[in-house]
Structure formats: C-alpha cells, structure tokens
C-alpha cells in the first residue's frame, strides 16, 4: 500500500503544476500587474512611478511566462509564473499583496471553518443516512413516495433561501439564536447552531435521496432476502447488512470531502460572519490578491488529492477484498 501511496503522490505533481498554470492564466487574463498595483495603492494620486515601484517590490515586473530578454533557462525561470509557482511547491506561500503572512492567516482561519464544516458534515451524514434508511424501510409505500417528493422539493430550493429563511425565522423573528457572528473565546456553539442547522437541512434533499438509491440497490440483493428469511429484524437488516454493503459508494462521495472541509464554505461563512477560509478566498478574489488566490487553490488541490488517496485507503477498510497495488 505504501508504494501505491507514494506513486499517487508523485502523480500529484503534474496535476498541481497544471492547476497552478490554469489559475495563473485565468487570473492574469482578467487582471494585469498594473491593475493589481492600482488596487493595492488606491485610486487617488497613483503615479506611474508608484505602480512600477510596487511591481518591482512584489515581483511583478517580469514577463508572465517567457522572458525574451533572458537567454537559456533564464528565459523560463526569470518570469512571474516560475518565481511565484516554485515557492508553492516548497509550501512557502509568502505574503499577500497587502503584506500579510499567508501561512499565519490560513492557520488562524482554518479553525472557524472546521468549527462549522465538521459538525455540518457529521450531523448531515448521520441524518441523511438515517432518513434514507427509514424511507427504504417503507419502500413502495405512500410514505416512500411522499419522501421522494419532499427530497426533490428540498433539492430544488436555492441554498440562499435556506440561509436567509433560517436567519429571518429563527434569529430575527423568534430571536432564539444570534443571527451571525463568531467568538472563539465565548460560547462558540451558540453561533454554530444556526449555520449547522441550515447546512444540514439544505443537504437533506440531495443526500437522503442519493443514499436511498444506494440502499435500495442493496435492499434487493439476495443476502438481504436471506437475512430476512432467517428472521433478522428490519433494523438489524438495515444497519448490519445493507449499510456496510453500501459503504463503498458512500465512501467514494464522502471521504474525498473530508480534507476539503478545511477550505470552508463561501456562502455560509459570508452570511453567518464566520472568519474562515471560505471568506478568505472570496475577499482575495475581490481585492485581486493573487498571492492568496494561488495559495488557496494550491492548498485546495492538495487537499482534494489527499481526499482521493484517503478514499482509496478507506475502500480497503470497508471491503477487505480490495487491495491497493
């Protein structure tokens, strides 16, 4: 297995280079180094000299990809792309365009992101699986049909509606919890109730419907009929027979998300005032802070790759027949 993991890690290098190249190209199609300088220096009294100085200071005074004035390998290495990308592979994210240390920011901001994402993820999976199993138990009945209708309806509603509706009803009208905010020193859970609840409810429709499909596929297998014939209770069949056998597709969709939980949620964090990495990325895009954008995309790519490797490893745990080679 170790050889497999090492091989997968080596495969990650060209993927990361490709992602980085794509991010770089997309960013500089929209923004030029001059735009970035003006954005950082302000819009009043910005002289061409000030722009040039900013570019020199921040390493944006070189060509983007190919330096025609340099010769040999320098034509590639003496460019913005090479200089800015190489450091990422050494996990040196450097400073944001406004001068802040990105590693420090990321390490501070990932905890609020996790504080919201982890409970939403864990409770969400638990609720979705329980609801799906219950619906499977009543497969073919009116309850099942109504449940599918409700799932599809819940899926059709915009995520924003859940957020705004939750804030309006629970926080504004009923005054049961704070409408937004986050205080790590205080009672954090008070600020987490609403975003977690919104996240879980918004995910029930798609999650439970998907799990229902997986469970139904298993429910029609011979081993389930055998278990039932042996007199096993429905609860036992669901949790001891169907659920373990449906784990492989569940893990495929779920484990890959676990590392990405660090990255936070753009919408939830923005609306609920959670100072996490989701809003960090959003702010960076708005303020044309390429240093943060490329670092966050890089971290996101790595986490996704780690998630995929973890998924493969989890298969061996869920199904002993699976061997990684």
């Amino acid at each position: 297995m170790l050889a497999y993991i090492i091989r997968r890690l080596f495969y990650a290098i060209p993927i990361l280079i490709g992602v980085n190249l794509l991010t770089f190209t997309l960013f500089f199609v929209v923004n030029s180094p001059d735009d970035m300088a003006v954005s950082q220096l302000g819009e009043k009294y910005v002289t061409p000299e000030a722009i040039e100085k900013w570019k020199v200071k921040n390493g944006y005074d070189k060509p983007l990809f190919v330096n025609d004035e340099a010769s040999g390998i320098d034509a590639i290495t003496d460019t913005i792309f090479f200089n800015k990308s190489l450091r990422l592979f050494a996990f040196d994210f450097g400073r944001s365009e406004s001068g802040r240390d990105i590693t420090t920011d990321v390490s501070n901001r990932m905890w609020p992101s996790l504080a919201v994402a982890l409970p939403t993820f864990a409770v969400g999976i638990g609720v979705n699986i329980c609801v799906a199993l219950m619906v499977v138990m009543f497969h073919g009945t009116k309850l099942d049909r109504w449940a599918v209708f409700v799932f599809v309806s819940l899926m059709s509603i915009s995520y924003l509606f859940y957020i705004i509706g939750g804030q309006y009803l629970i926080a504004k009208t009923w005054k049961l919890v704070p409408v937004s905010g986050f205080h790590p020193d205080g009672q954090v859970w008070r600020f987490l109730i609403l975003p977690v609840m919104v996240g879980v409810v918004a995910g029930i429709g798609s999650g439970a419907r998907w799990y229902r499909t997986l469970f139904l596929e298993e429910a029609n297998q011979d081993y389930v009929r055998t278990a039932r014939a042996k007199g096993a209770s429905e609860i036992s069949i669901l949790f001891n027979h169907i659920l373990p056998n449906a784990l492989i597709p569940i893990l495929t969709g779920v484990v890959v998300l676990v590392p990405a939980l660090f990255m936070g949620s753009l919408l939830i964090e923005s609306f609920f005032g959670i100072p996490g990495l989701g809003s960090y990325m959003l702010d960076a895009i708005k303020s044309q802070d390429f240093a943060i954008v490329r670092s966050m995309v890089f971290i996101g790519s790595i986490l996704y790759i780690v998630g995929l490797i973890l998924t493969d490893i989890s298969y061996t745990w869920a199904d002993p027949r699976v061997r990684l080679s």
Partner: protein
C-alpha cells in the same frame, strides 16, 4: 417507548443547554459580555476589512475609521462647526508659515516666494499609548530587541508582550513619519504627490533606493533637506513655492508621528512572518489604541490611558445647541472606553442586529448602506419616510451630504460629443437637460443625492445655495426653486447643434451616444430609464459595461465617449475639486492616472486654476473660483453630476452622532446611555419559544407513526393472500 423517552431526553437536554448557555442575556445576543465598568460602543466595519493600518501606506477611508482614532496628525477638524474648520490636534497651535526666496531669505507672501516653511510646535502633553516597542530596561535600552527569529518566536501578537512602555511625542517623530512616506520600501501612495512639494523628498527617496536593506534602516541617519528638528518640540517643514492648501494635508494621517523605536521594534527578525508589523498594529498618541486586530471578525479599540486632556467643544455651528449636540460640552474625551467594530458582509444580519439593538449605529462607510436603507425607508406621498420598524424603535437619522461628487463626464476629445465649438456645446447641453437628475436620484437613490450644478459640493467654499447656485443653462429659478429647463428647449438645442429630431442633418443617421458603465454599478432598470430620458429628444444610447480595470484602461487611453467617475474630498477647499478639470491632469497629457478624465483643455480655466492653487482665501480667490465654475457650465463638460447623500442611523441611546464629511476622528465624541441600551435590548429580544415545542411535537408526530408502522410490520403474521 424507549425511543420516545430518548427523544424527550434529547429535546430536554437541548433546551437545557440553550437556557443554561444564555444566562441573563437575551438568547440571540451576539456580543460577548463587556468588561466590568466599561462603556462599550458596538459598531460595524466595512465589508472589505482594512488592508493597511500603516499611516504611510493606508489611503482608504474605511481604514481611516481606525487610524484617525489611534494617531493624531498635526492638524484636525472641529467636530461641530461648518464650514469645516481646521484646529490644531497634535500641535499647540496652527503652524507658523514663513516665505523664503531662492536664497532662503524671508520675503512677504506676495513677494517672490520660492519656498514656504511651516514651523510646528508639538504639544508637550501628547504621549504615546503603552506599547512593548517603548518598553525599556533599567539602563534605558529597548526591552524587546532580538538578534534572531527564534528569540522572539513566543510573541505572536502585541498582547503577548508582558512589558509595555510609553513616552512623550517628540518633534523628531513627525520628521521620522514624513521620512517614511519617502521610503521606497514602503511604497506610500503619497510619495509621488508629496515629492512635488516637500523639499528634498525626491533626493531622499533616491538615496534610500541605493542603500542595502537586509535589516532595519534608521531613517534618522539620512537627512531630508525640507525637514528640520529645531528642538524636542519644534520642527520645520519646507515646501516648494506657495501652496496654502498644504495645511490641509497636515490634517491627514500621512503626517502622523512615528517613533523610530516603534519602527525598529517591528523590524525584529521573524516579526513580519507573524504579522507583527506597523501595518497591523498601529502605535499612536490618539484617544484610542488597538487591542485586537482580527479583520476577519472584529477590531477592538480601547481608551488610550495616556491620551492628553481633550474636552468636548463648548461651541458649535448654528443649530447645534438646539439639536442637543452640545449636551456633553466640557466633558473629558473620549466618552466611551471601548469600541468594537465587527465585520458584517451581508445586509440581513447587519440590519437584524441593528434593529435588535446589538449595534449602536448602522455602520461607518458600509458598502451595503443603500440596501440597508431600502429596508429602513419607504417612499410615501411626502417623500422618504421611516419604515415601521425604524420608527417604532426611536431610531435617529443623521443625514449627511458628503463633500464629494459622482458624475458622468463627456470625453472632450471625442469626435461626436467632444470639442469646443458652439454646436458641440449645444449638443452637450441638450443631453444635460434631457437627463433629469432630480428624477434619477428620486427613483434610484431614494432621494439620497442632490443635483450638482457645479463641481464644488456643499460645505466647501465656492458652493452657492439658492438662485445664485443654479446652473442657469440647464435650470431656471421659478417660484423659489430650481426647475429643469424644458425638453422643448433641449430639442431646440439639438436642432441648433445639427441634430434635428436626433438625426445628423448631414447624413440622416440617428445620433447614438456610448456610455461606459461599470458592470456592477448600473442596473438594467437604470439603463432603461436612461434610454427613455434620451429617447425624449430622439437620441439613442448604447452601453458598454466593463469592470473597473477595463474602464480605467479606456480612460487612460481616451477610448471613451461618456464615462462615470467620482471624487471624495481630501480637504475642504475648492481646489480639491476644480483640479478634476485642470488640463495637466488629463491622462492623455500627463500620461498618468490623471484626474481630468474628460480631457478638458481650456486655457483660461487652467490659468485661473494655477492662481487659485497658490492664492490665499479671500474675495479675489472666490471670484476666480466662480469664473471657473462658469466655464465648467458654459462648456458643459459633464453630462450630469450629483452630490451623494448618506443617512446614518443610530439607536436612541447614542448621542453626538453629527456627521463630519472630512474627518473620521469622531469616535471620541460618541456617547452611549448604557442603561437605556440594556433596557431596550431586553425589551426587543424576548425569545419566542413556542416554535421549539412545536418543533418537538412535529418531530414526534413524524417519528411516532413510523415506529408504530415498523412495529406492526415486525409483529405481523404471514401475509394473507385470501386464497383460502
């Protein structure tokens, strides 16, 4: 039954947790408990958190909300008096200005002035906040200077340092602060502009650019010709020529004092990697100091215990006494102990918390202001009225016309709408009349703006009210008010311009104008309205939406016909607005980001501007300003313009909220009636608990039939097929 019991227990536990966690506070209180005995002001910060808090680098108004409370620049503004009045802040009195000739001899103001020298006397009672950078050991050496990053690695933020120190503000600190503006390492946005004025600044920058910078550079070792420390409390600053407006620049944060010790402290090895920088942790002598800087969540300012004796003004402008703005006259400032600014990115949470009483005011410079006001006001038959929630809560409005201007300008080099012939003037004037600014502001801004008949906004000398202030070429004075000239007049002007019924009389082609709009700033509804406005005179419009970067590119190359722009005052002088039409400011002439995006060129205007720039205030200068406004109107340089108006909302327990258009150093005047705040918060935030019980019942209602059905199925016998 076991499942039912478990459900009940879980619900009970959840309720217990909810109740136990909230104590006596309302359940929805998002604010942590205030420190005992401290009066805390709760406010909102801009949706874009501050990027820079170094006074040499910061130039954004939402950053100034913090910097103006922490630093004291040499000059400031009177809180209440209008027109805006300069007062000494960090210095004892207004600077003494002496004029010098080329040889450095003193001459009269009207003489052959080559230099102006400003002598500033620093207040002897001005003292810095307690800060670790000023902490010294028994021998007087700085306590926190490290040779390596590992030595200071345990300090991750300023509150981690156990020892602090303080000292008086010295004249050299102002000199050091100005030298930092010229340090090429910092990239101050003021460098290019100030180097034109301060003697020796360019040379100083060039000299520093040659110095290797692997560690802290003591700027005291590098003299700047225009700066001199006379004694511990006196300094002189010399600028080229005569520039009376320079005194206003002394009221800006760029001229704040910076102790060299602080600069050295922040250059400790490894500090920058933990964001321990002056850009993050400002150190000043103002009424407040920064206790917490987490721009992702909140910024907390606390009273500076070393702040000098400063008192609430005992006199104000007309109407201030009647408005209750002098109730706290003579009280020691600041009036609150602590100010918390929380980040709010979305309107609903901001508005909800404000109405629940958890924010004292609706926000300083909040980007969503207009959306907030959409919820706060309704347009009734008598104009803009407060909506029910706002009126019931006793919320106060603080209307404020900003000293700024937003405008759509013509590119005077454009072959269709540009040019200086009579026909072109008439064409532009016809378009000006057709665009009904008053209606536009009423529909799209709920009246939060005033039609601008000149580039000079209210509160700035040169702005005239009443009949004298109207643009007679677009408006008439009828029955005591300004009335827009008729569409018929616009049509007639169009005929005279060579476009009868909106068609070019030579080619017969319809006249089409092109407006560059910033994508997010103009809605489809607005564009439809503009189509109709110009359609009245037969003119067609095409819009060219683009983001700011692309718009800026077009302005720099003159590749636009009609563009939108805005300007907020740096200081309350007409020169700060009239320069928007000064030809050397044209991007096509200066080959820079000039402010004259209309590329307006007018010899008389330029000459008058040069004189206004160096003239002292007085009737002669006023006459020159009036003539420049007249030229602006005659030439019809801008399609339309308006002075933006903001309405800030304050809960009833907040006082001294009079808006100041120029200065942000107003936090020290804010006062809070904490008793009323507690009562109102408790009254407005009684939780409604029935949904909790209803939710529990609903859950049971959903689960119970399932359990019953499950049991029935488990206990059922083999299915009866009915075949017997």
């Amino acid at each position: 039954m076991k499942i039912l019991s478990a459900t009940r227990a879980a619900l009970g536990l959840a309720l217990l947790l909810l109740l136990s966690g909230c104590g006596e506070d309302p359940w929805n209180n998002p604010n942590p408990p205030s420190p005992e005995g401290q009066l805390v002001y709760q406010s909102v910060m801009s949706p874009a958190p501050p990027k820079h808090l170094d006074p040499a680098v910061s130039y954004a108004s939402d950053e100034n909300v913090f910097l103006s409370q922490i630093y004291e620049s040499p000059m400031g503004y009177h809180f209440l008096k209008r027109p805006y009045e300069l007062i000494p802040l960090g210095v004892e009195d207004r600077p003494v200005v002496t004029f010098l000739d080329e040889q450095g001899n003193e001459v009269a103001e009207e003489g052959d002035v080559a230099f102006s020298r400003y002598t500033l006397k620093v207040r002897p009672d001005a003292r810095y906040q307690p800060h670790p950078s000023l902490a010294v050991d028994d021998s007087g050496d700085p306590l926190y200077l490290f040779d390596s990053a590992s030595e200071g690695a345990r300090f991750r933020s300023i509150p981690d340092f156990p020892q602090t120190g303080d000292r008086a503000v010295h004249a050299n600190d102002y000199v050091y602060g100005i030298k930092r503006l010229a340090d090429p390492e910092l990239g101050s946005p003021m460098l290019g502009f100030m180097a034109q004025y301060i003697v020796g600044m360019k040379e100083f920058t060039a000299q520093l650019a040659e110095v290797p910078r692997d560690q802290w550079l003591n700027l005291d070792e590098y003299p700047m010709e225009g700066l001199e420390v006379v004694d511990e409390h006196t300094l002189t600053l010399t600028i080229y020529g005569r520039y009376p407006q320079f005194i206003y620049w002394l009221a800006m944060r760029f001229f704040s004092p910076i102790p060299p010790e602080v600069d050295r402290f922040y250059h400790n090895p490894g500090f920058i990697d933990r964001n321990l920088t002056l850009d993050w942790w400002p150190v000043g002598s103002g009424p407040f100091m920064m206790e917490k800087n987490d721009p992702n969540s909140e910024i907390v300012l606390v009273r500076n215990p070393n702040f000098r004796e400063d008192y609430f003004p005992s006199e104000g402008g007309p109407g201030d006494l009647e408005a209750g703005n002098l109730v706290d006259a003579g009280k020691r400032l600041p009036l609150v102990d602590r100010a918390v600014f929380r980040l709010e990115k979305e309107v609903l949470p901001l508005w909800t918390k404000f109405l629940q009483g958890y924010y004292d005011r609706s926000g300083e410079n909040h980007g969503n202001t207009n959306n907030v006001f959409d919820q706060a006001f309704t347009v009734g038959p008598d104009g803009v009225e407060m909506s029910g929630d706002v009126a019931d809560h006793g919320i106060n409005m603080d209307p404020d016309v900003k000293p700024g201007i937003y405008y759509y300008g013509f590119n005077m080099r454009d072959p269709v709408v540009g040019g200086y012939t009579e026909e072109k003037r008439k064409l532009r004037r016809a378009l000006q009349i057709a665009f009904n600014v008053e209606e536009y502001l009423a529909i799209f801004y709920k009246g939060n703006g005033i039609n601008a008949p000149s580039p000079i906004p209210p509160g700035i000398p040169g702005h005239l009210e009443g009949e004298a202030g109207i643009n007679p070429l677009t408006h008439e004075w009828i029955d005591g008010g300004a009335a827009r000239r008729s569409i018929d007049e616009a049509r007639q002007l169009l005929v005279e311009a060579g476009y009868p019924n909106g068609r070019d009389e030579r080619t017969g082609e319809p006249l089409k104008i092109f407006i560059d709009v910033q994508s997010q700033a103009v809605s489809n509804t607005t564009m439809n309205w503009m189509d109709r406005a110009f359609g009245q005179i037969g003119v067609q419009v095409e819009y060219r939406p683009a983001d700011w970067n692309r718009t800026r590119e077009k302005l720099l190359t003159g590749n636009t016909q009609i563009y939108s722009h805005g300007w907020l005052a740096d200081y309350p002088d007409p020169e700060n607005f009239l320069f928007l039409l000064f030809s050397p400011e044209s991007p096509l002439i200066c080959k820079c980001d000039g402010a004259n995006n209309s590329n307006f060129e007018h010899a008389e205007y330029d000459e008058l501007f040069r004189q206004v720039r160096v003239s002292p205030r007085g009737p002669e200068r006023d006459a020159m300003v009036a003539r420049m406004v007249e030229i602006y109107r005659e030439e019809a340089v801008w399609l339309f313009a308006y002075y933006p108006k903001d309405i800030y909302l304050s809960n009833p327990w907040v006082s001294n909220t009079k808006r100041h258009g120029i200065s942000k150093a107003t936090l020290k005047y804010i006062n809070i009636d904490d008793e009323m705040r507690q009562l109102k918060r408790a009254e407005w935030n009684q939780p409604i608990t029935w949904p909790l019980f209803a939710g529990a019942v609903l859950m049971i209602g959903l689960v119970l039939p399932g359990i019953t059905a499950y049991r029935r199925r488990q206990n059922a016998t083999a299915k009866n097929t009915g075949s017997q």
